[in-house]
């Protein structure tokens, strides 16, 4: 091994050590590697829409049971902030007790609507598939029947 090759080997070892020290792929690449992309729904195939719809339905399902969250109530005032926030929370809690009766009904409705959508989606998909199968079967029968007629006609000539 000559001097240059020794130098290269030393550099390689140094770079390997540095590589092992870096956890983040971005740093290794030396640039930002991730981007965000819009979903072009109008270009989606049925299968892609199906997957998208299932994802969306499960997201809706999570939202269906949402309730107001009083933990988010805060005040920007320095000194009076804490008592004001406490007061706001108490007031909201009292209001929510009244609202809960109404909200329970709303949540029940939301959940049933989501379930219904899901069932309808599945049932329609199954029905379309069954209809496609039936049409294919009928088309096959037609071809076979025509073939038989042609054969009989040829025999009679």
């Amino acid at each position: 091994m000559n001097e240059l090759e020794k130098e290269i080997q030393a550099l390689k070892d140094e770079l390997d050590r540095k590589r092992e020290e870096i956890d983040d792929l971005k740093k290794l690449a030396g640039r930002e590697i991730d981007r965000t992309f819009e979903a072009p729904l109008e270009e989606f195939s049925d299968r892609e829409l199906d997957v998208y719809l299932k994802d969306e339905l499960s997201a809706i399902n999570d939202l269906a049971a949402s309730r107001p969250d009083i933990r988010a109530v805060a005040s920007a005032r320095k000194t009076l902030g804490r008592p004001i926030a406490l007061l706001k929370r108490k007031l909201l809690e009292t209001t929510f007790i009244q609202l809960d009766v109404f909200l329970d009904k709303q949540i029940k409705f939301n959940k049933q609507a989501v379930t219904l959508l899901r069932v309808l989606h599945r049932r329609l998909t199954e029905r379309v598939k069954a209809l496609e199968d039936r049409i294919a079967g009928l088309e096959e029968e037609t071809v076979l029947l025509r073939d038989r007629i042609n054969e009989i006609a040829a025999r009679q000539k």
Binding site: L11, K12, K18, E43, E140
Partner: protein, 428 residues
């Protein structure tokens, strides 16, 4: 002269590499060092070829490994896998000698925890850390990185990188790096068209898959066999069920014509495949000896089937509007044609690039049309012979030798490019 000048500049080299290390990071410095080493002829260029499914038998994997075999004398090759696999399997499954290549396993703990056989990239969402980053890191250790997976979640760190796209399954979303590869090679015009539609860029090269099912000598006498060769996909999108149902209807309605014919469905399957069980039940209702399911048969048996069969059915794409569930190319159709079998295929996907309707086979859009064409062929042995000859002629376009020559051209260009800093040109 160049070699002497660079050989004499050891300290300059160290300064240049360390300068790059400070300014642009480890990978850029490693790339520069590798480039200089290659220019000085100090070592052979290195190439890694990766597929997350190398531990399965598959058409895409055969493509990647045949490519590797064709260029293994140009590079020092490492085959990257995520699960243990050996040279023996590659030899048995594809008849390829890759003994000059090293095999390196890069385990992915994310999938190990899931205990799944198939490392499905669709399990990886934005909410989880990208498990394929381990492969991305490894890619930076080679001069050339070839990603043969249907998986564009691997970020290429090598200076020259090739994404072999068998089909753009995903649209660009989380961890999408397809356009970070220096070159994208696709397997058919159909795939190229969908890369442009989904990924919004044109691939660099079209390289049709290698097909090497030619007969050793003259094809023997054909028997009255309709053959289908396709993987028994649990989702059923190869459409074996529809073909089998059509054949059974044919046998029942036209016993005088179809009575002596047999339908053989050959293909690979994983254990516990419910779709295959369903097919077996359906096959049990067929007249005795008229239907055969041949699962995971060795290559020698498959060759015998190809030699004997007269008609080939392939209906992948039927009743499917999703481009991903249509045949992206159709290797088994070419295999059949190489053996003088008349193909009747679905008129969609990459199949029109192989079969010219009414010239060397037939393209149909329904099982009814499939039966119509089949009945005509069943009645006319002369037609079967002439179409079989035309099919054999067309299949030469997709031979292994044509593939290997094209692959070597692509990778010779890459070798040239490795020694320069110029970006590759898109030439499609």
């Amino acid at each position: 002269m160049k070699k002497t000048r660079e050989a004499a500049s050891g300290p300059e080299l160290a300064a240049a590499v360390r300068g790059l290390l400070r300014r642009r990071g480890v990978q850029a410095a490693a790339d520069e060092l590798a480039r200089r080493e290659l220019r000085l002829g100090l070592r052979r260029p290195t190439l890694a070829v990766y597929d997350h499914a190398f531990h399965f038998i598959g058409g895409a994997q055969k493509y990647g490994l045949t490519l590797t075999s064709a260029i293994q004398d140009l590079f020092r090759v490492t085959i990257l896998t995520n699960r243990p696999i050996g040279q023996r399997e590659f030899r048995e499954w594809y008849g390829l000698d890759l003994s000059s290549c090293e095999i390196k396993v890069v385990p992915l703990p994310f999938f190990e925890k899931l205990k799944v056989v198939h490392l499905d990239p669709s399990f990886v969402t934005r909410e989880v850390e990208n498990p394929f980053h381990r492969v991305s890191r490894e890619s930076g250790r080679y001069d050339v990185f070839v990603n043969n997976s249907m998986n564009e979640m691997v970020y290429p760190l090598a200076r020259e990188s090739v994404l072999v796209c068998h089909f753009p399954e995903r649209r660009p979303k989380s961890y999408f790096y397809a356009d970070d590869y220096t070159r994208v090679v696709c397997n058919s015009r159909y795939t190229a068209e969908w890369i442009e539609k989904k990924w919004k860029f044109a691939p660099h090269r079209l390289l049709y898959p290698p097909v090497d099912m030619e007969t050793d000598g003259a094809a023997g006498p054909k028997k009255k066999i309709i053959l289908s060769v396709a993987r028994f996909e649990p989702g059923g999108f190869k459409r074996q069920r529809e073909m089998l149902a059509a054949f059974l209807r044919l046998c029942r309605a036209r016993p005088g014509v179809a009575g002596e014919w047999k339908f053989v469905l050959a293909g690979g399957s994983n254990p516990g495949n419910a779709y295959l069980a369903d097919l077996s039940d359906l096959a049990a209702s067929a007249p005795a000896g008229s239907v055969e399911l041949r699962v995971n048969i060795p290559a020698v048996e498959l060759r015998a089937l190809y030699r004997e069969a007269a008609v080939f059915w392939h209906m992948c794409g039927l009743m499917q509007e999703d481009p991903g569930e249509t045949e992206h190319f159709g290797m088994t159709v070419v295999e059949a044609m190489q053996n003088g079998i008349v193909p009747i295929v679905y008129d969609g996907g990459g199949l029109p690039e192989i079969v010219d309707d009414g010239i060397n086979g037939f393209r149909v859009r329904s099982t009814a049309a499939l039966l119509e064409r089949t009945l005509a062929l069943m009645r006319d042995s002369g037609k079967r012979t002439s179409f079989g000859r035309a099919a054999e002629e067309k299949s030469r376009m997709f031979s292994r030798s044509v593939f290997e020559a094209s692959a070597r051209t692509i990778f010779s260009e890459i070798l040239e490019s490795l020694r320069s800093a110029a970006p590759p040109a898109r030439d499609r």
